[in-house]
Each structure stands twice: as structure tokens, then as C-alpha cells.
């Protein structure tokens, strides 16, 4: 039987790679490989997953140096010969093995004012938003994000500037800036301005290149750059 040589990160930040032999199968995903190791070879291996079908965003890891959803990544697509390297996501504190601490990632969504702030009450009529209105189209482009952290792990600005809010949080902010029902535009633009905000983006496009949902956070961040600059120009920042 064809065997895969799977090199997996073990331990915390001071750990190292350990190699496991895993039988190769047809239509095998990288998540299948990790699960095989944990169930059949070494039950102490820690990793995270839930849905296995690309809906929850829990199983993102670094596969051969690139951040990916492991459940939707076929071994055949990434294996070099019979070798695969699997590491935890970059730019996040490591808990153990393949599990990272996502707190900072989600805290940044809150810091970017990623919460919807209603401008109407339940006593008013429904807002009617035309599906082809420019704001709705712009929001639609980024609304499918499920918070897997692949873009955040791929972003070098995050590596170089630890306060940087990152592609996912800024993408979320941009969808809300374009939501006509939202009442916190000014506060949100102020929250995404500054050294840690949208203008720190260098358009490496790593986020857009790696996003498993084909979202382009770079486009959202460019929109924020313009909106924040206009707000500064008008003295509204």
C-alpha cells in the first residue's frame, strides 16, 4: 500500500515536527490524514474540527507552508510525492500541536466594531434594501466569511504589526459600513483608522489569494481606506 510521510507539528511553540506513516487513499482529505493519526497512531495529537464539509471554519491549518481548510484540501492536490507537512496556523498563539488560540483574532473583530448597530427599533417597518443597490452589492461580496482565520494567518502585516486588525475583521467592518440599516458608521470608521487599521494594509493580496471562500478582503480594505480618508478630509474622524 502507498504510504504518506506526514510531518506534523507536535508540542507548543518550542516543539518540533514528528513524522507519521499514513496509508494513502483515494479522495483523501488532509483532515482525514490528521484524524487517522489521532485515531490509529497517536491519540495525544490535538487538533480542531467540527463539520468536515467546509462550513464551520474550525479545521484551518498550515499545509505545506500555506494556510488552508484541511477538510476541503485533497491530499492529491498538496502532497509533494508522498510527503505532507502539517503545522498550526501562523500569526496566532499556539496552544498545543495543531490547535491555536483564536481569541486575539476574534477580539479584533470586536475592536473593528464588527457588531451590527441597529438604527431603527422593532416598532418601525422593515428596511427595504434593493439587492442591486451599490451598498448591498459591496456587502454581499464579503458577507460569506465564516471566520476560519486563513486570511489572518496568511497576512504578513499581522506578522509585522501585531496590533493590525487583519483582513477578516476589516472585511467584516466594510460589510457593515455598506449596510444602510447600521447606525455606527462614524464610530466604525474611527475604529478601523490608524496604525493598526486599514491603512496599514500593503495589498500583498495574500488574504485574497488564500481565502477558501474566494472573498477578496483586499477589496474591502481598499474601500475602508477611501472611506476613512474621506472622513478625515471632512473632519469626521
Amino acid at each position: 500500500m502507498d504510504m504518506l510521510q506526514v510531518s506534523v507539528w507536535r508540542g507548543a511553540a518550542s516543539g518540533g515536527y514528528r513524522t507519521y506513516e499514513v496509508p494513502r487513499q483515494e479522495s483523501q482529505s488532509v483532515l482525514d490524514v490528521v484524524t487517522y493519526i489521532q485515531r490509529s497512531i497517536d491519540p495525544t495529537l490535538s487538533y480542531r474540527f467540527a463539520c468536515r464539509v467546509g462550513m464551520c471554519g474550525a479545521c484551518a491549518m498550515t499545509v505545506n507552508g500555506v494556510a488552508r481548510w484541511t477538510c476541503r484540501t485533497h491530499v492529491a492536490k498538496v502532497a509533494q510525492g508522498n510527503a505532507i507537512q502539517i503545522a498550526p496556523l501562523a500569526n496566532l498563539p499556539l496552544v498545543k500541536d495543531l490547535v491555536t488560540d483564536m481569541r486575539e483574532f476574534f477580539d479584533k473583530w470586536a475592536r473593528a466594531r464588527g457588531q451590527f448597530v441597529p438604527s431603527a427599533t422593532r416598532h418601525e417597518d422593515f428596511a427595504r434594501v434593493a439587492s442591486d443597490s451599490p451598498g448591498r452589492v459591496a456587502a454581499n461580496a464579503g458577507i460569506e466569511c465564516i471566520g476560519c482565520g486563513v486570511c489572518y494567518a496568511s497576512c504578513d502585516v499581522v506578522s509585522w504589526n501585531s496590533g493590525y486588525l487583519g483582513p477578516a475583521a476589516l472585511n467584516r467592518a466594510w460589510t457593515l459600513v455598506n449596510d444602510v440599516r447600521d447606525g455606527a458608521r462614524r464610530e466604525r470608521l474611527a475604529a478601523v483608522a490608524g496604525d493598526a487599521g486599514c491603512h496599514a494594509c500593503h495589498t500583498h493580496l495574500s488574504c485574497s489569494e488564500r481565502c477558501p471562500k474566494n472573498i477578496a478582503p483586499t477589496a474591502a480594505i481598499a474601500g475602508l481606506k477611501r472611506a476613512v480618508a474621506i472622513a478625515a478630509w471632512k473632519g469626521e474622524l
Binding site: G65, A67, A90, S154, S159, K225
Partner: protein, 114 residues
């Protein structure tokens, strides 16, 4: 954990690196450029002396590289302005290729005219 070159190995990241390094190189070159032009204050002879110095093969090669860097920073910068200020389109990689091609053409024009 941090990323290595494998995470960065895609066209836009290389474009960023070219833009940053060319910007750095041009910033370092500028004081020398300004100093050399300032020599004209001391008359034509001083300027001539410098121009003769630049005729050495190695200096000439450095000049070609500098023009190439300037052209690359220009076209790369125009690409960034298009990316940030024009409506987003699925043309980012085409823009990149265009910028690289135009920069190479400018560098070639300079090299061949020498």
C-alpha cells in the same frame, strides 16, 4: 508560528517586495544624485568629471539597474493606485503583468540607448 516563503510565493507578494526594495534603493540613491547635480554649482568642469566617472562599465550597469528600479516603482505604484482607488475587478494579476512589462520596457529603452 510564522510564515516562510511558501506562504508568500505568489505574484502580488513579489510585487510588494519589488516595490519596497526599489523604494528603499531609490531613497538611498537620491542623496548621491542630488550631490552629483549640485556639483554643477562649481562649474561645468566638475560636472564633466563626474559624467566621465559614470562611463565606467560597472557604473553604467548600476545606472541601468537604477532606471529599472525607478520604472518598476512607478508602474508598481500606478498599479497600487488602480487597486486602491478604482472599483475592484478581477484584473489584479493582469495589472501586475502590465506593470512588470512596462517597467522592463522602460529599463530596456534606457539600456539600449546607452
Amino acid at each position: 508560528m510564522s510564515n516562510d516563503f511558501r506562504a508568500r510565493n505568489h505574484p502580488a507578494w513579489w510585487a510588494f517586495l519589488v516595490h519596497r526594495l526599489s523604494g528603499l534603493a531609490l531613497s538611498v540613491f537620491l542623496p548621491f544624485h542630488f550631490w552629483a547635480l549640485g556639483q554643477a554649482l562649481q562649474g561645468e568642469a566638475r560636472l564633466d568629471g563626474l559624467l566621465r566617472w559614470t562611463e565606467q562599465p560597472l557604473v553604467k550597469f548600476a545606472e541601468i539597474v537604477l532606471v529599472l528600479l525607478l520604472a518598476a516603482h512607478l508602474t508598481g505604484g500606478l498599479r497600487l493606485l488602480a487597486l486602491e482607488f478604482l472599483p475592484w475587478r478581477e484584473w489584479q494579476k493582469s495589472l501586475l503583468a502590465l506593470a512588470a512589462g512596462a517597467a522592463l520596457a522602460a529599463g530596456l529603452a534606457f539600456a539600449l540607448a546607452l
